[in-house]
């Protein structure tokens, strides 16, 4: 399952405190990041919901900076893994090494890899070989790592922020579908506009670099996650989420024409889980105590775009899954 059970911690966070914390985090990140409000917000939603994020965009758009800034504002242990074709799985999860103690006796000791952190930045994850990429599977899904026959828990919260370059670029390996499905969101980082680019240049080339202060900690993030899970969802909202997921399947009765024609595989049930879980967080962020249709409609793109796949004809037509999601939402709204 996508979400591991979270122990109920001492004392629930107040809803107002939740919103205030989110607001503070967004403000702090906004001091460093120019624009990209939706990317920041969706990343925070994933963080609270306990999911992982795949950020896709050309190099230089601030993806790494975003992750680093988040770790700074949340005072989380942060590790960055730069994926390259030469990177091996052991380089990520860790390995047993031979050490010698004071008495001169040698024995194996597990040397944790960079995955042992609260916030892991898997930079340019699609540059690594599939074997190495799959090393992240267990960590992302189970929040555990198995090395040398022993399974070890990862620190909580555990959050993988992966970045990837568009697949058309040279030297990339497409992520396997199973791994893609383990990302709660896939966010497309757009190139900044004219004004935003000017502000980025001004901000990053000046003498003073903006400092980021810590506004929350790991415990706060976990409490926010627990609170978000309490948010009620009406039947009809759940029904919409279900229908959206079903509509990505070409054989479904809810599928619009282009989905029937151009989709190879539909989204898995994880897509529905992602919609509801993220919707709850978004509802609290918006000051609501319930999930609304608009939550589902807005989050359908980041939550589902990487979970269903076009067939050859669809790709030949130049379609994207976002185009089909627009079709799906329009179709469901009409019917």
């Amino acid at each position: 399952m996508l979400f591991v059970a979270i122990d109920v911690m001492e004392g629930f966070m107040d809803v107002d405190a939740f919103r205030q914390t989110i607001k503070d985090i967004e403000e702090e990140i906004g001091r460093v990041m120019v624009g990209q409000r939706d990317i920041i917000r969706h990343t925070l939603i994933c963080l609270v919901a306990g999911g992982n994020v795949l950020l896709e965009g050309v190099p230089g758009l601030g993806k790494t900076m975003l992750v680093r800034t988040i770790s700074q504002t949340l005072s989380l242990k942060f590790n960055r893994i730069q994926f390259t074709p030469a990177l091996m799985p052991a380089d990520i999860v860790g390995t047993n090494i031979i050490t010698e103690d004071a008495e001169g006796k040698k024995h194996f000791r597990f040397q944790p890899g960079p995955v042992f952190a609260n916030l892991v930045l898997a930079d340019e994850i699609n540059r690594a070989t599939p074997k190495t990429q799959s090393a992240m599977l267990e960590a992302m899904q189970e929040k555990t790592v198995t090395a040398g026959g022993e399974t070890r828990e990862l620190p909580r919260p555990f959050f993988v922020l992966a970045t990837q370059n568009p697949l058309e670029m040279e030297g990339t390996y497409p992520l396997p579908e199973a791994q893609l499905d383990r990302f709660l969101f896939k966010l497309l980082v757009e190139f900044p506009g004219e004004d935003e680019l000017a502000r980025i240049l001004a901000l990053t080339t000046g003498a003073l670099q903006p400092a980021v202060r810590q506004v929350a900690d790991a415990e706060a993030i976990l409490k926010m996650g627990v609170l978000a899970r309490e948010v009620p969802v009406a039947e009809r909202v759940t029904s919409l989420a279900v229908r959206v997921v079903l509509a990505t399947h070409p054989e479904s009765e809810y599928a619009p024409e282009r989905v029937r024609k151009f989709v190879r595989y539909g989204a898995s049930p994880r897509g529905g889980q992602a919609l509801i879980a993220a919707g709850k967080v978004r509802a609290l962020m918006e000051g609501r105590y319930n999930v609304a249709f608009e939550d589902i409609e807005e989050l359908a793109y980041p939550a589902l775009r990487h979970r269903f796949f076009l067939n050859f004809e669809g790709e030949a037509e130049g379609l994207t899954t976002d185009d089909l999601l627009t079709d799906i939402l329009g179709f469901l709204k009409r019917n």
């Binding site: 309490e230 009620p232 009809r236 609501r288 319930n290």
Partner: protein
């Protein structure tokens, strides 16, 4: 929200059709499995129906506080809902009415205005009923409010109204707060149903245009109206005759009276149910056949003999009373009078008996019925013979014969009145059903000479039509009956079936037994096998005066036997009577009788 229907019945139905309960109930019968799919289908269908109609669906969630907060929204929604449905219904009804009007311009439609009004009214009522059944409930109000501003707050609160967790209570509080601040007029303003309004406006305009434009079918409609009125009038007339027979007539024997009344009642019913002219004519033909059966095959000659006998006896002092009884058709009086006559003659002198014998012999000379003539002569002979026993016996025999003949004559007369009424009804209906205007033939007239006794000039009547009336008069001295069809101009002649040669004249071509000696008009080829080789009658075709273009007509059959060409109007009466006699004599199978009636009814159209 207190006044809601209780749909326990439907719920029970659903439970009853629940396949699981049904299966449990039928364990051991072996029918559960085979019926389960049927029940499932019915159950799903019922569920779908109930879900589709808010009134049947019932309340999904109950929360008094939220429903109270939703009340203004619900009122607005329902008002808008009924407004939309009202316009929708009116628009549909108006379009239907326009279609009706359009059809009425293409083919005659009697009472199209009533149909249009009914369509509008019925559609509006139906749509209002539909609107009532599908009126929005609190849940729909919550959905509307959520969709417009509150973002699923209210529906979520309604769904979770049974839960009391901290988050749910906060959500509920949030929903109520937002609901109370909901700007009803801003978010949910009254909306005029524009689309329905446009359709309604277009339909009204079309209806006005169609009402203003002259309807080419109006003349035909008016003709149908006249026909209906005429049928109704004749129906009343038949009813009146029937009532008179029931209440006042004591002369007809009970069986004949009942049969006549029955025939008239059936005719009245058939006329009432008649949808067109053909039905009415068919009903009339059927009634005429039944009345003819009632009247029997007694020769009308007997009736005439009785009248002449009464006239003859009336000239003598001793038999004047008997003559009066004969004229009145009083059967018991005739018997009584002949008995008195026998008694008085037994005591009377020779001279008086001879006078009576002479009177009887005179009377015998005026009658043509052999039995009557013989009885009269034998009675006269007995009076001259002087034997009291023989005299009494002969007079009693004569009295019985006269009473019987008078009784039958009474039947003929009473039934004849009814038959005359039917004839008039036929002519009236034919006239009403004919086209009108521009000098076309409006109606056929008929004349029928009723039975006459000594009374001179028994009546004959002519038919009338809405255009020009045809009127005929008939006179008869004796028993006679004549029929005649009439032309719109009221000209023509007709012969009755009258052995004495007295004819009842009528307006129009004759429908009587004997052909008119000269006939004018349009002719139709009708094959009459009985007239092959006979001389036939002379027929004339009207031509234009003066010199005109000549026209040669090629006959399809170069050999024309004289007598094979007869005017249509001339022979149709014979054929009809022949058919009726065949019907009476059961020469035609029962299953084919209607076919024959239909045929002759169609000839009259």
């Amino acid at each position: 929200m207190k006044s809601r229907f209780d749909f326990t019945f439907f719920k029970n139905c659903l439970k009853k059709f629940n396949p699981s309960t049904t299966k449990r109930a039928s364990i051991g019968t072996g029918k559960g499995d085979s019926n389960a799919s049927v029940y499932t289908c019915v159950n799903l269908w019922l569920q779908k129906v109930c879900d589709g109609i808010p009134s049947l669906r019932g309340r999904r969630y109950r929360d008094g506080e939220i429903e109270e907060a939703l009340r203004p929204v619900l009122k607005r929604l329902r008002g808008q809902h009924f407004l939309n449905w009202l316009f929708r219904g009116t628009a549909v009804g108006s379009v239907t009415a326009v279609l009706f009007l359009l059809v009425s311009h293409l083919r005659p439609w009697l009472g199209v205005e009533r149909w249009c009004a009914g369509a509008v009214l019925g559609t509006v009522l139906a749509t209002l009923l539909a609107a009532f059944l599908s009126r929005p409930d609190a849940w729909e109000a919550a959905c509307q409010v959520d969709g417009r501003a509150l973002k699923e707050r209210v529906t979520t609160a309604l769904e979770l109204s049974g839960e009391r967790t901290e988050m749910v209570l906060k959500q509920r509080h949030d929903a109520l707060a937002h609901l109370k601040s909901f700007a009803l007029d801003l978010r949910l303003p009254w909306q005029f149903p524009v689309k329905e309004g446009k359709v309604l406006l277009a339909a009204v305009l079309a209806a006005v245009v169609l009402s203003i434009l002259p309807n080419p079918m109006q003349a035909e409609v008016e003709r149908q109206v006249a026909l209906r009125k005429e049928i109704a009038r004749q129906e009343k007339k038949v009813e009146r005759i029937k009532r008179e027979l029931e209440q006042h007539n004591r002369r007809l024997p009970s069986r004949e009276r009942q049969e006549t009344i029955h025939a008239l009642e059936e005719l009245r019913r058939n006329l009432h149910a008649a949808r067109d002219k053909r039905d009415a004519l068919k009903a009339l033909a059927q009634a005429e056949e039944e009345l003819a059966e009632v009247a029997g095959a007694v020769s009308t000659r007997d009736d005439a003999d009785l009248k002449r006998l009464a006239a003859s006896l009336g000239e003598h002092e001793g038999t004047r009373t008997l003559a009066g009884k004969l004229a009145a058709g009083d059967m018991a009086g005739i018997r009584e009078e002949t008995r008195k006559l026998a008694g008085s003659q037994a005591r009377a002198g020779q001279e008086e008996r001879r006078a009576l014998a002479a009177a009887l012999l005179d009377a015998a000379g005026s009658v043509s019925t052999p039995t009557l003539k013989v009885d009269l002569e034998q009675a006269a002979s007995a009076l001259n013979g002087g034997s009291p026993g023989l005299m009494e016996s002969r007079l009693a025999s004569l009295g019985s014969l006269l009473a019987g003949m008078a009784g039958q004559a009474g039947i003929n007369q009473d039934v004849g009145v009814a038959k005359l009424a039917l004839q008039q009804a036929r002519m009236g209906i034919l006239a009403a059903g004919a086209s009108t205007g521009n000098g076309r033939v409006a109606a056929g007239g008929s004349g029928e000479g009723s039975q006459g006794g000594n009374a001179p000039g028994a009546s004959g009547s002519g038919g009338s039509g809405p255009g020009t009336n045809g009127k005929g008069t008939g006179s008869s001295n004796g028993a006679g009956q004549g029929q005649g069809g009439g032309s719109g101009a009221g000209m023509g002649s007709g012969n009755g079936d009258n052995p004495t040669g007295n004819q009842s004249s009528s307006s129009g071509p004759s429908l009587g037994n004997d052909p008119a000696p000269m006939n004018f008009g349009n002719y139709e080829r009708i094959f009459d096998p009985r007239r092959i080789g006979a001389a036939g009658e002379t027929s004339y075709i009207r031509g234009q005066a003066g010199e005109g273009p000549q026209q040669a007509v090629d006959t399809p059959n170069p050999i024309i036997v004289p007598g094979t060409m007869r005017p249509y109007q001339e022979v149709v009466g014979e054929y009809r009577r022949s058919a009726r006699e065949s019907l009476d004599r059961s020469l035609i199978p029962p299953g084919m009788k209607d076919l024959v009636r239909d045929y002759f009814a169609s000839l009259e159209e």
